[in-house]
């Protein structure tokens, strides 16, 4: 490293050190950001949520659900649907739930309605999901109870059907016996034979008494014959009916067989399987457990973004506003040396800043980063370099302090908006998304996530490093051109 370069860095550091407020800001501000963010986001769910509710009539089930809610949310009951939905509009409640009056274990003809403020996109989905889960869980419990009753009834049917089938089969068998035993034409011939015999002896007998007796007997036989014929008819009818009944019983028996077979093929014994036949479970791919841990790569990226851009642009502005700026151009020291000198000074300051940030993370937030410090350092080195050169370019591009600060904040804010910080970039329109994936904040955030959250090695972050490297090179050239142009403006 040449002496001029060392001298420029030395001078920059002395100048910075003599500005006590700047030094303090460099160390304290990022630490404060980390501590505040760490404390604020050290939770895994939603807290302090006000839920507005309304129902024409609070059923026992509704009360039961609300009791569950009270464990996590503050419940406010309103007197009308309008009041409840207005409470969301004026932020008194984050969500409003309208329960139908007839909500019961047997179900309801109406739906449970949610009023949510979708303009607060980041919380609306979370909240609806959280509350719906609770209600679904309650609904599932009710469903399980109902399904359990159903299963019990089915099991009872399954148990009783074989014995019923036996009864049917027995009846069928009895009917078959009846059919066999229904002999109905045996007496007809004998009565006829007896009549023929009596008619044959009628001429050979004398005496009216006997003849009368024969006639009486013949009449009896005639009557008997008629009764017999009637009985035969009846027996025939019974037989027919018996045959029909046998057929019905056979059919019944077959149906019982099918029912038994069907019931035996149903293996559900658990009511939960009927209510939720497909079970799901979400496994986190992160070993971390709180919002703070998930946000850590983003927080680090944002500190690098704002720190890099603001420090570099303000240091260039300071240099340009300095009386010595003209003399610097008079020395044989080249523009590139000044550029690199300023870049290295900013980088060194930011390294010190991040050393404090990581100490804060280690000792105050108790997140161990020592094992991945190599990967984090590499990403931060490239990202900080890119942000510094962006800041330096802004510093050379504009003249006034106000414009430079405004532009720096604006550009950093735009980069932040089009990153995953506020909303996932997947939620923005595809044309912007295609650009946003090349946002250096997105690249830095993704690379840090891969290293911090998933423990990936260097080969997995090459894409992000190339993007950051591209920005670094592009803005290095622009900064150099900018410096040359400012010389002409002196």
């Amino acid at each position: 490293m040449n002496k001029s370069l060392l001298e420029i860095i030395h001078k920059n550091l002395i100048t910075l050190w003599r500005s006590k407020f700047s030094t303090l800001a460099i160390i304290v501000v990022p630490l404060l950001v980390i501590l505040l963010a760490g404390s604020a986001f050290n939770s895994a769910g939603l807290s302090g949520i006000n839920v507005g509710v309304y129902s024409e009539s609070y059923s026992s089930l509704t009360e039961n659900i609300l009791t569950d809610f009270e464990e996590n949310f503050t419940i406010t009951r309103f007197d009308s649907v309008e009041e409840c939905s207005d409470s969301v509009k004026n932020s008194k409640a984050q969500i409003c739930i309208i329960f139908p009056a007839d909500l019961s274990e047997q179900g309801s003809s109406e739906e449970i309605i949610f009023y949510a403020d979708y303009s607060r996109m980041n919380i609306a989905y979370n909240l609806i999901h959280g509350i719906e889960s609770k209600i679904s869980s309650k609904g599932s419990n009710l469903g399980i109870s109902l399904a359990q009753e159903l299963i019990t009834a089915l099991n009872s049917a399954k148990d009783s059907l074989p014995s019923q089938k036996t009864n049917v089969d027995l009846s069928k068998s009895n009917l078959a016996d009846i059919e066999q035993k229904a002999v109905h034409n045996i007496l007809l011939g004998e009565i006829e034979n007896a009549s023929i015999y009596l008619n044959s002896i009628y001429g050979s007998v004398n005496g009216s008494v006997v003849k009368n007796k024969i006639n009486d007997t013949l009449e009896i036989l005639e009557s008997l014959n008629e009764s017999n014929i009637e009985a035969i008819k009846n027996i025939g009818g019974i037989k027919n009916q018996s045959e029909e009944a046998t057929l019905v019983l056979k059919e019944l028996s077959d149906q019982i067989d099918i029912l038994i077979a069907n019931l035996q093929s149903v293996n559900i014994v658990d009511a939960e399987n009927i209510v939720s036949p497909i079970k799901t479970r979400v496994e986190s791919i992160n070993s971390n457990s709180s919002n703070r841990d998930y946000l850590l790569p983003t927080i680090i990226s944002l500190i690098a973004l704002f720190g890099g851009i603001l420090l570099a642009s303000s240091s260039i502005l300071k240099e340009r506003k300095s009386k010595a700026y003209f003399r610097n151009f008079m020395t044989p020291t080249g523009d590139f040396t000044f550029l690199i000198g300023n870049y290295l000074t900013c980088l060194m300051v930011l390294i010190v800043q991040f050393a404090f940030v990581f100490l804060g993370i280690q000792y105050f937030l108790h997140i161990p980063l020592a094992g991945m410090i190599g990967g984090i350092s590499l990403i931060l080195f490239v990202a900080l370099s890119a942000f510094i050169f962006i800041g330096m370019f802004i510093g050379y591009l504009f003249k006034s302090e106000e414009t430079i600060i405004f532009s720096s904040v604006l550009i950093a804010a735009v980069m932040m908006f089009f990153s995953n910080t506020i909303l996932p970039i997947e939620t923005i329109s595809s044309s912007f998304k295609n650009i946003a994936v090349f946002n250096p904040v997105v690249a830095c955030d993704l690379a840090l996530k891969k290293v911090i959250s998933f423990g990936f090695d260097y080969s997995f972050i090459l894409g992000e490093l190339y993007i950051l490297g591209g920005f670094l090179g592009f803005f290095l050239i622009l900064s150099y051109v900018g410096r040359r142009i400012t010389k002409k403006m002196l």
């Binding site: 001298e7 001078k11 003599r18 009386k323 010595a324 003209f326 008079m330 020395t331 044989p332």
Partner: protein
């Protein structure tokens, strides 16, 4: 002038449509104190900044010992030291730190740097204030520190832009003493000033810049003789005679108009400015004190 250490050959410098210098020829002799005098805005500082290659000529060439200054900028940059009117050093560094910083940027070897800093501090009389931050120094001290920064790499030519501007008479005298002292060590000094008495007292040679041209150059004695005047104030009086007045006025109006047009200002302010210049020229005829005259012209043009 004798053998030219620095030579301007038909040099024109314009900024956009505004021509500041028009085909000027100038020779600067080695080892002398050369003053470039003229009204404010005439292009004195532009000449100095072209010598150090900060500005490139629009037309023409500038040579240092027959080497083209623009083409040999890097080699020649160590030969020049420049101090501009507003000063050029770091306010948050001490006097010694400023000298040390610029010494290193000029590539002064570490072995000689400390000794050189000592010499310069002694020369500019800031030994007692070496640890004082530049922002805490008095105006005169700041001027001297700036000259010290320009001298740290031991240049052959020291260029001073309005070195005595804003200084009280006592500090002005001290500054002139310092310039003579520097020159006595063999350093060629090129300076600009609006104070004609000062130029007459200190300069071996002067070049008078008027209406985009060097209209006179040589020793003050020769110029005074030519204009039959006992001092340079009288010379200026004659230059601003009726014969030249119209030309000057037209030129001043043209320059002002260009500036105003560039800034998108209204014609009204042009008329007002032009009238004021006219009034001041009238006043100059009556006044002996050309210093005060030039100060007023400067104010009007601003």
């Amino acid at each position: 002038m004798g053998d030219g250490l620095i030579q301007f050959k038909k040099v024109t410098k314009s900024f956009g449509k505004n021509v500041v210098l028009n085909a000027i020829d100038l020779e600067i002799t080695e080892g002398k104190i050369v003053g470039i005098i003229g009204a404010s805005g005439e292009g004195k500082s532009t000449i100095l900044k072209m010598i150090v290659s900060f500005y490139k000529p629009t037309k023409g060439e500038i040579f240092y010992k027959k080497k083209n200054i623009v083409k040999s900028r890097k080699i020649l940059s160590k030969l020049f030291g420049i101090s501009i009117e507003e000063g050029s050093f770091y306010e948050t560094l001490s006097a010694k730190e400023n000298l040390s910083h610029f010494g290193r940027l000029y590539g002064v070897k570490e072995k000689v740097l400390n000794h050189r800093i000592g010499e310069i501090l002694h020369l500019i009389g800031l030994e007692a204030a070496e640890k004082t931050l530049a922002r805490d120094l008095s105006l005169g001290m700041k001027k001297r520190l700036d000259i010290g920064c320009a001298l740290i790499h031991n240049p052959s030519i020291l260029i001073l832009d309005e070195p005595t501007a804003d200084l009280d008479p006592l500090l002005r005298k001290q500054m002139m003493g310092l310039i003579k002292k520097i020159n006595s060590h063999g350093t060629t000094v090129i300076l600009t000033t609006q104070l004609l008495g000062e130029a007459e007292e200190i300069c071996d040679e002067v070049a008078i810049l008027f209406n985009e041209k060097i209209i006179e150059e040589g020793t003050p004695a020769r110029i005074k003789k030519k204009y039959k005047s006992s001092n340079l104030d009288g010379v200026f009086h004659k230059i601003f005679s009726d014969k030249n007045r119209k030309t000057y006025q037209e030129s001043a109006e043209k320059k002002t108009k260009l500036k105003i047009l560039e800034k998108g200002k209204k014609k009204k302010s042009l008329i007002t400015n032009s009238d004021k210049i006219d009034e001041l020229i009238e006043k100059a005829k009556e006044k002996e004190d050309s210093d005060s005259f030039l100060e007023e012209v400067k104010g009007a043009k601003k």
